[in-house]
């Protein structure tokens, strides 16, 4: 790690003359920080290292999740293909018949679908995305030495790690992991005898996700406290970069919604292990009515989606924040409509708590109640459209640098529009009667919160890689990665809209046995091939990531993108405490690009004589 000697050379004179002296470096920081390998790389309490831990764990899980999707895509695209070549990897889940043809076990197909959803939604797009960038950027961008409680921050990562370990273990159970869908609706999740995966697989799933809730809460409490109480001098709320705003609202959503999921899980655990009937009623097993009555499976769905919908925004808001920031920097223009962006983030955050039942229109909720949920849901289109308009407004007339992160930002906006529009269809309870649980839904949420969130994450990784590792990622490989992913994602999910409108249901094992769906064989093949190619493009990214970490072009200037925000006032490889001397004092908002004929003005540079604050 860097020592203070290397960084003093580049350190900004302004920070020393104007900055705020918190006497940070006068103290001994004991042996807790970066004293040996263990405290530097494993049980680190430094937010930058924890961010890297989250990122790399997230990449690991993204790889596993994507591999799973490839396996079940092969099953869907080529249901008659011989899969015996997968036997070495999947073992008994590939059954080889006498003719030597290997088949994927249907039970395991469901497990794959379930695990793919759980892993990508929770481990990659929640922990891997907001965990990484909240940790990295919040202290750096608001001018703080570290998180409010570095210790709890470390615990947050290790609870996430533990949760992942439990889930990983469940993949190797003899009965397989949980297979009842990532939402884990009862009765499949509440009765251990309901299916193979409902036994130990479900138990471990619950343990894993309960640990995950703990991790999210520890992180969330930290992020909120840090943003609200630890900003540097001059960093008012209205001067914070949009990234920080997005992380703040994300953390609030997580803080308020994950506990409700936890309550739902606790009740489920009781149903499973102690024989209560919170979620069970009218269950017949082998023609016999179970003695478990009085509850309602819909109750679980309500509790789950009370988390579930905010969760969608927990995933997409950080991506939105990253995109706003990266886009402004690389269009060399102030973000268009800064305050409108902030209010949109808040509005989306608020609305996310009152729309959850739009996931349940067809589950038998009161139709009268559905009307309200439809209206609330459609209102979300307003702040979302404001944001899209502002991104396009930011690009308009900008001096755009077409580097990889900018491409991913543009890709994000494209994906967000395409996926958002189909959301308006699904938000109407009447149209939902036709569309629910078809591939239309699959296409919708994969584009709007899967691919779009990944694009935001990629933009963030390419942009802040120099801050994380002191080296650049390869831009050519990045562009190859972008174009294949962009085209590939549309090739995969575009046709799925068509399938969905034709009524093809999701989560089926194979379609060629249904007369109604036989005609889509070629389309399913096409989707599978496109998915495989898109997956290969992600390997380009992974190679680029790890290669650049050690061999990438070195960063030679503290502010390689000529960006305004505070993280670029730190040394190239900031040590513990981020700034070697004083903490910079902030004099302006984060988006003074092209003001008074100056290309960019960093936040810690005081106003000139007679200069006015940018109005925003």
């Amino acid at each position: 790690m860097s020592s203070h000697n290397t960084s003093t050379k580049e350190q900004d004179y302004l920070i020393e003359s104007q900055g705020y002296d918190d006497h940070f470096h006068e103290h001994h920081h004991g042996d807790k920080y970066q004293m040996n390998f263990l405290t530097t790389y494993i049980f680190s309490q430094d937010h930058k290292m924890i961010a890297r831990q989250f990122l790399i764990t997230g990449i690991f899980w993204a790889f596993i999740g994507a591999l799973m999707s490839l396996v079940f895509r092969i099953q869907l695209g080529f249901p008659d293909a011989d899969l015996s070549w997968l036997k070495p990897f999947l073992g008994k889940w590939i059954v080889v018949n006498e003719a030597g043809i290997g088949k994927l076990e249907p039970e395991f197909y469901y497990a794959l679908v379930t695990m793919h959803g759980t892993i990508i939604v929770f481990f990659v797009l929640t922990a891997g995305l907001s965990g990484t960038f909240s940790n990295l950027l919040i202290p750096l961008q608001i001018g703080a030495r570290d998180m409010a409680s570095p210790f709890l921050n470390m615990l947050s990562y290790w609870f996430f790690f533990l949760s992942g370990a439990v889930m990983f273990y469940s993949l190797f159970l003899s009965t397989g992991p949980f297979s009842g869908g990532w939402v884990a609706y009862p009765p499949l999740s509440a009765l251990p005898q309901a299916s193979n995966g409902s036994g130990n697989g479900m138990t471990l799933w619950l343990v894993s996700l309960t640990l995950f809730v703990v991790s999210v809460l520890l992180g969330g409490i930290n992020y909120i406290t840090t943003v609200l109480n630890l900003r540097t001098k001059g960093m008012t709320m209205w001067r914070m970069p949009l990234t920080v705003w997005a992380f703040l609202v994300t953390a609030i959503l997580a803080l308020l919604s994950f506990p409700v999921l936890a309550s739902g899980f606790f009740l489920l655990i009781f149903d499973r292990s102690l024989g209560t009937s919170f979620y069970l009623s009218d269950i017949f097993v082998n023609g016999q009515i179970l003695d478990r009555i009085g509850g309602s499976p819909i109750l679980y769905q309500h509790l789950f989606w009370f988390l579930g919908h905010p969760e969608v925004y927990i995933i997409i808001l950080p991506a939105m924040g990253l995109v706003s920031e990266v886009m402004s920097v690389h269009a060399r223009k102030p973000i268009f409509g800064y305050r409108a962006m902030v209010y949109s983030i808040m509005a989306i955050g608020f609305l996310s708590f009152i729309v959850w039942a739009h996931h349940m229109f067809m589950s038998g909720v009161n139709p009268f109640l559905s009307n309200f949920f439809v209206v609330f849901t459609l209102i979300i289109a307003v702040p979302s459209a404001v944001k899209v308009f502002n991104w396009i407004g930011t690009l308009y007339g900008g001096n755009i640098r077409m580097n990889t992160q900018m491409l991913f930002c543009i890709g994000f906006v494209s994906m967000f529009i395409s996926g958002g529009l189909t959301g308006i269809f699904l938000g109407n309870s009447a149209i939902d009667i036709q569309q629910h649980d078809t591939y239309f839904v699959v296409a919708h949420f994969h584009i709007v919160m899967g691919v779009a969130a990944f694009f935001g994450m990629f933009a963030g990784i390419y942009n802040w890689f120099p801050k994380m590792f002191g080296r650049y990622m390869n831009d050519t490989m990045g562009k190859i990665h972008f174009w294949i992913t962009m085209i590939g994602a549309y090739a995969v999910f575009g046709p799925m809209h068509y399938l969905g409108m034709a009524g093809v249901p999701r989560r089926y094992y194979r379609f060629d046995t249904f007369d109604a769906f036989k005609g889509f064989d070629d389309m399913n093949k096409f989707i599978t091939i496109a998915a495989a190619i898109t997956f290969l493009a992600q390997l380009v990214f992974i190679i680029n990531f790890f290669y650049s970490m050690y061999k990438g072009k070195k960063v030679t200037t503290p502010n390689p993108w000529k960006s305004n925000s505070l993280e670029w006032t730190t040394p190239i490889e900031p040590g513990h405490g981020n700034w070697p001397g004083k903490i910079p004092t902030v004099h302006r908002w984060a988006y003074d690009y092209g003001k008074d004929d100056r290309e960019f003005i960093q936040q810690h540079i005081p106003l000139r004589d007679g200069e006015q604050h940018s109005s925003h």
Partner: protein
């Protein structure tokens, strides 16, 4: 702002503020984190209580709490809500002693802090004891468990056909919503027969299962909070005694933080008391 200066010279890495020029909320990060933790915990309880309400709304009949919670130690029965009122007092009193401990902390009065915290712990333990007695009675004497709820309530008007010595005589009248207890003899439920208004002969039935399960689950979760509170109080009391908080020179902030938690437990009880015992 005096508080702030103190923090900056605190040599403890973990408890020092990584702060810039000011604390916008004029509270240390530890207190803020406690507040936000309590907020999220409030949502956990809200999840439970909303689930309770939903299941209760979905049941045709619900036992009347005045009938269910009417026993007192010493084999006293039919004294509705007296015992739980005592429990509530105990918890309120322990909250009050906690406030006193925090106040003594602000004056750096170590003896005062330890004394009042000790009383708080006694209060917490008494509450847990009361709860243990209540659960024991409900489970052991009245056979209410998470699987069975012997407390039913009538869904129609009618008259009893037979009495079995449990204060019900043949010919006693009852109204819609009146509660009854289905007794258990030798491991079997012994429901009474009655005639409804339409003249049909019927038998008492067990009440909604969810009642027992929700009661034990939610009061148990609250009791678990009380128990962990007592453990934390104990640790912090010993620490306060040893003088390490006095050295930190931050007005015994740790005592204040655990105080917040303890009041929160009391706050939750206000709502548990409301929905289980009053409504």
């Amino acid at each position: 702002m005096a508080d702030h200066a103190i923090h900056n010279h605190d040599s403890h890495d973990n408890s020092r503020l990584w702060d810039g020029a000011k604390e916008p909320f004029k509270a240390s990060y530890g207190k803020l984190m406690m507040w936000y933790f309590l907020l999220s915990d409030a949502f956990t309880f809200a999840g439970f209580l909303i689930a309770y309400g939903t299941l209760r709304f979905s049941s045709p009949a619900w036992p009347v709490p005045d009938f269910v919670f009417s026993s007192l130690p010493g084999d006293i029965h039919h004294k509705p809500l007296i015992f739980v009122t005592i429990m509530t007092f105990v918890l309120i009193a322990s909250s009050v002693t906690m406030v006193r401990a925090v106040q003594e902390g602000h004056r750096y009065n170590k003896k005062g802090v330890v004394f009042w915290m000790f009383l708080t712990i006694i209060g917490g333990l008494s509450f847990l004891g009361c709860q243990a007695w209540e659960w024991t009675t409900l489970i052991g004497k009245e056979h209410m468990t998470i699987h069975n709820n012997p407390f039913g309530s009538h869904t129609e008007n009618g008259v009893y056909l037979e009495g079995d010595g449990h204060d019900i005589k043949a010919g006693d009248q009852f109204k819609v919503g009146d509660s009854y207890l289905v007794h258990k003899h030798d491991g079997h439920w012994a429901p009474l027969s009655y005639k409804n208004e339409a003249g049909a002969t019927k038998t008492q039935q067990l009440g909604p299962k969810a009642f027992g399960a929700l009661f034990f689950f939610i009061t148990g979760f609250h009791g678990f909070h009380v128990f962990s509170g007592v453990v934390f109080l104990l640790i912090i009391m010993i620490n306060a005694w040893s003088g390490i908080y006095a050295k930190r020179n931050n007005k015994y902030e740790m005592v204040e933080k655990i105080g917040l938690y303890w009041h929160f437990v009391d706050l939750v009880w206000v709502f548990v008391f409301l929905v289980f015992y009053l409504l």
